[in-house]
Homo-oligomer: 346 residues x 2
Amino acid sequence: MAEILSDRKHKILKAIIQNYLDTGEPVGSRTISKDTDLNLSSATIRNEMADLEEMGYIIQPHTSAGRIPTDKGYRFYVDELIEGREEEIGGPAEIVIQKQDKIDRMLKQVAKVLANNTNYAAMISSPVFHRSKIKFIQLSQVDKFQVMAIVVVEGNIIKNKVISTDEEVDGETLLKLNVLLNTNLNGLTLDEISLGTVAQMKAQAGEYALLVDDVIEAVVNAVQEDEEYEIYTSGATNIFRYPELSDQKNATALISTFEEKNQLRSIVSRSMENGNEKNGIQVYIGDESPFQNMKDCSVVTATYDLGNDMKGTVGIIGPKRMDYENVMKTMSKLLKQLEQIAKKDR
Amino acid sequence: MAEILSDRKHKILKAIIQNYLDTGEPVGSRTISKDTDLNLSSATIRNEMADLEEMGYIIQPHTSAGRIPTDKGYRFYVDELIEGREEEIGGPAEIVIQKQDKIDRMLKQVAKVLANNTNYAAMISSPVFHRSKIKFIQLSQVDKFQVMAIVVVEGNIIKNKVISTDEEVDGETLLKLNVLLNTNLNGLTLDEISLGTVAQMKAQAGEYALLVDDVIEAVVNAVQEDEEYEIYTSGATNIFRYPELSDQKNATALISTFEEKNQLRSIVSRSMENGNEKNGIQVYIGDESPFQNMKDCSVVTATYDLGNDMKGTVGIIGPKRMDYENVMKTMSKLLKQLEQIAKKDR
DNA sequence: GTTAGCACTCGATATGATTTAGTGCTAACA
DNA sequence: TGTTAGCACTAAATCATATCGAGTGCTAAC
């Protein structure tokens, strides 16, 4: 598959792709002949281009048009980019995330900044807490027949659930239950709560065994709810900047993807799985992407880690001819900032 | 302004508008001549149409085209619709909202159902709790230097805030503060917490007066956070069904309105203000709408009331030639259902 | 007051000519 | 042998032109 390209072909291919990224128009031999420092005539370029086409890197939309990159061509280009990224970050453009108290707001901001800086559509998932430990549980009376369970998990994420009880529960019982819960469950993750633990607690609870069931269910629900991470998006309309995505069919598909967010989840999980590739950044070109009907797009994702097992994914979606270099740089920089702020925050 | 139209003109105008709502194409005199039961020739219709045009109800996009309604024409049509709506709801199509525990999910569902049933873009705001009473406050120790305040307000909405303290707070103090807070603040709305109340509490708190300040601030913040209602949207891509909104400019404007949601807030507040018009439903046609750059759209809003001062707004946005009748019916029906479910829920 | 008829308007569609950007191939050249 | 100039060829894009069709306004007749 991966033939080795002569130095010259290499340069020409790169020039073609770069030019196409800029303009979105098929590139002709003359253009390349003038753009590169190879000092070759358009005729020679033409010969090389014919070769490159045969190898599958570029293609002619129709006779008498210039060439445009195929997915294989893009892949070549992106792989090279990723290869060469030896932490040459720190470039220009200060990107500023303002520190704000709520994590969610910060994430929304990141999405916005990302979309604005790249001019593509951006998304970010709120962190998922895999295996997060229960830190603290508190039951409180709300009403005669309602008890509220508050669960704090590692990372100071607070969740609550209201439990409706059949019988009235008095304060004393509540106090007992509180102690029972905290001694038995603190420090455990969801997976670690075994049936044994539950049985043990029920035994200890005596006449309130029934209530224990309800409470545990509520706790489990509350913690699990966190796993249902939120996804924030920004700049969906950026796709209108790129004519190749602006036709009705593509636009509808893309924008409803952004509105529904279900498909975005599949990006997130895929990104989390393939996880720690080089620099944590992954690029899906055309059909490689987790989408149906989105063969005209590329997706770039990266994973961020706020510590404490709080990991999430950011992604941008744009045309295949996106400015991969800028996107990757901007992402790294932004995530670095995000992670720093998060660290300071605790 | 509001001339009285002859019966015939009235019928013709209505026929023109209805036809245009269907087709989106300018309607000619022949069409009307055949469609109505007036048994008039196209020539006669033409004369009447010329009159109606002069009165400002319809307009010709260019010579030798049929007529399309002006905003004034739409207004005439909608006003008549609203006038005639004597609770003739209960028509066909069962709309089903599934009951789910979280209010937010239900609202999302309402938006979705509304969008699907009307084929326009739909939005719904989560209820705002004006003057909601504090029902219950609970402080709990999370960490050595962190206290969590949980506030339950009427309607069982639960909010929490983490407070960082300078000094370590022991359990006893917390207990005292809990009692202090609940005896002083329960049953009050945000507005009712006077400086006097605060001073009084500080006095009672003695050496923990400083902490009281922090806690109250947290409580106020927590409650206020609720006032920042969420807005859920669905079906933004429906606008692509209507060519007159599908051009790049309009589409970008509309879709980013739906993504940003800030402009939607202005609809919500406007709808809440103008509140209880006939049937609670309001129609903004073209320039009447709270938007800039949206003179090609109509907005229909309605206010729902889940009781306990929990009020919110639903809205749909579509082309001016929307099926106002269906939209209004669907909305009423849906909201009635929503309100019923909410009432059962408590 | 209604209607038939007709000249007229103007957008939409189709047609064809022209231009333009590019190619592939061949033959000459260093 | 690799490079280049030159040329015939292709297909899209652009533009002007003709044609069609839906609809109007006006006039004259009923």
